[in-house]
Point group: C2
Chain length 101, copies 2
DNA sequence: CAATTATATGAACATCTATTCATATAATAC
DNA sequence: GTATTATATGAATAGATGTTCATATAATTG
């Protein structure tokens, strides 16, 4: 890839980075992440909090989990989701800072 | 919006936040941002560096500028683009950190 | 076991988006 | 003025993506 200068990360890394931000780039997923900002919640509670269907929330939780932005544990019939680590808080926070200029 | 608990930012803010991340969520735009990480470049140089058409780069620069991720100045026939502020560096860096786990 | 509750999944559809192509604008050189 | 170079823009197309609907899986209760 001689078009890239020395300081450019590998193309695959930049692709993965874009994929990561793409996950944050949907309002439903952002809302879910903020629901989970400082607590864990089960799927039904998230759906109710956001006024969305269980199915839609579940689909998006799958995306969030595949990208390691949330983790989950089962408790009986319920699955409790929470933010995966502090990077998620940081990224959301940086985004907010930029919005506020 | 009584479905939201007290700590949730307003829905409009969360929407704007998602829109911001959406801008970072495209590999072409991420590549452009990394090209500009520590230097300013004109459109043609960015296009050449990435092996893309001028038109495609120009369209994406417009998106980046509309969202205040880059700024530009004219010098003769050329337009030189650079990152708008340090938030852009921070957000890219946080994303990278998350990728590296 | 069957019934119920909670969640997950697959397919279909509608919407959004990035690129390409053609063309327009802007600045310079002659 | 015209020609050239650099960039921007509008329309069209192709591909990606989020929601809905129907259904499947999983755990509990009786």
């Amino acid at each position: 890839m001689e078009e890239y200068d020395d300081r450019m990360p590998p193309e695959e890394t930049l692709y993965d980075l874009a994929e990561l931000f793409k996950v944050f780039g949907d309002s439903t997923r952002v809302k879910i992440l903020y629901c989970l900002f400082d607590t864990e919640l089960c799927v039904g509670d998230i759906a109710q909090a956001l006024g969305m269907t269980q199915t839609a929330v579940s689909h998006q939780l799958r995306v969030l989990k595949a990208n390691k932005l949330v983790k989950c544990r089962r408790d009986g019939k319920s699955m409790f989701y929470s933010l995966a680590d502090d990077h998620v808080h940081s990224i959301l926070g940086q985004g907010m800072d930029h919005l506020m200029e």
